[in-house]
Symmetry: C2
Subunit: 279 residues, 2 copies
């Protein structure tokens, strides 16, 4: 199967590696708006060649959209306009706006909306790694709106990446990811800014940074392009979770101010409850 | 050298493993207020035997205090009262209150205040692992108040654990650790509580939790005994950093509400600056 990947960065590039290794793709074509990034993706062996969008669509059996959520909103309708039997999937982190947009499109059935829940804090083709997706979960959204053959092919693709499949509708997806993924990125960005603001001695950050701090702040290295567009599109759900998060921090603050350490202790005990769910 | 370890949990137990392996300790004695925890520490081979506090002090050349910060405030003066030539070190996460307390003690010179910046989210003797400290930084606080032989012995101990040594006074230490370690624990506890509060579907937390969420929330599994006493003793510094953190989250919130995504983007770019310091 010939696969064209629009956006050969962390996610698109890592998919390319596994799709080639498993034989799912016999040929891999990349599309990249930045010339050097495209060259890099070929050099690294992620894709066989870089082509302009139109030619990459023409040549492909299956098109993977792995660009920022803002670019997705422009590209998906354009691609659906151009195809009849080919299949398209996206790997975007928000779903409601995208699926609202193409709901009435005559070729909607050729599109399968997916979100492989995997990644690292790095970006670009150099960040692509094999086996990024293995044993992780991939969400299929509103799958009943996709044609059966398209569903089956994309299912087979994610099985080749060794992912577990989960089905959600688009609004459920956006609510759950706000809780589980988007808020932790926002707190990590805020933590990095806090420490950069308050700790002017950079050597001390480097020397004293325990593994705990490093793991909490790791996500703050994530791409501003990717994440601004995610927060833009999932704004309402993120705001709701963020309000709750600020509220809880304010409760901690107030307990510290009043030196109510018994209640402080109980809140930490409650937070420990996350152990039951995440080993 | 005979070493007595008061509190054979994650830190005390991990030190025991390395001190035995490197030959630094020829005999290891544990003190544990909880009988079963003490038994476990012996079963796991962390210490040779558990003794009551007084007998453990009598038998030791060097005493390691690795209990919660609250317990430290009671134990350190008691131990200093009982010794003449023996040495004591603590591994506590805050220093100002503890060092204020013993500043005028006639045996102050026998005490070396240290903070090995290493750990995991687990606790108890079962959490002890070899090589926990290797290549990490250990802070020596107000080292000039310790006798030269005590400084040298404790220095040799941390070199056996393969740690890098850093010198700070007690108030610098508490300010820096508030920035680099304590605030990230607090945000992680708050994040766990946020998600547990908002995400009632526990299966979804498990399935959708990306590695990003898991790394941000990992510290929320940390012990309430350890951490309540740290926040109690470093309250003022933590409050200052927490105020800044809540302020930054509120700026993010306000930019989301006003849909000012250009400024939102710039803040994420600034947060990315942490990459320069932490690879």
């Amino acid at each position: 199967m010939i696969v064209s990947i629009i956006g050969v960065g962390l996610i698109g590039g890592s998919m390319a590696l596994d799709l080639r290794a498993t034989g799912f793709a016999t040929q891999l074509i990349g599309v990249e708006k930045d010339f050097k990034t495209g060259q890099k993706a070929v050099q690294l062996g992620l894709v066989d060649q870089i082509l302009p969008l139109e030619r990459a669509i023409d040549a492909a059996d299956l098109i993977i959209l792995s660009v920022s959520m803002d670019a997705m909103l422009h590209l998906l309708p354009t691609i659906l306009d151009k195809i009849q039997h080919k299949m398209v999937l996206d790997v975007g982190s928000t779903k409601e706006k995208l699926l609202d947009l193409v709901e009435k499109h005559p070729n909607r059935g050729r599109f399968v909306a997916t979100h492989p829940m995997a990644g690292t804090e790095h970006s670009g083709p150099e960040a692509a790694i094999p086996n990024l997706f293995a044993q992780k979960y991939c969400v299929f959204c509103d799958v009943e709106a996709s044609d059966t053959d398209a569903q089956e092919t994309v299912h087979r693709l994610y099985k080749a990446l060794k992912m577990n499949i989960l089905y959600l509708n688009r609004s459920e997806h956006d609510v759950h990811t706000a809780y589980i993924s988007h808020i932790s990125h926002l707190t990590s960005f805020a933590l990095a800014l806090t420490v950069l603001e308050k700790e002017k001695d950079e050597d001390k950050i480097f020397e004293l940074a325990s593994s705990g701090f490093q793991s909490t702040v790791r996500l703050a290295k994530s791409s501003p392009d990717t994440w601004t567009s995610i927060f833009k599109q999932n704004r309402d759900n993120v705001l709701e979770v963020l309000d709750e998060h600020i509220h809880i921090l304010s409760v901690f603050r107030s307990l510290l101010i009043k030196r109510k350490f018994d209640e402080f202790y109980k809140m930490i005990q409650q937070a420990n409850d996350i152990k039951r769910i995440l080993k």
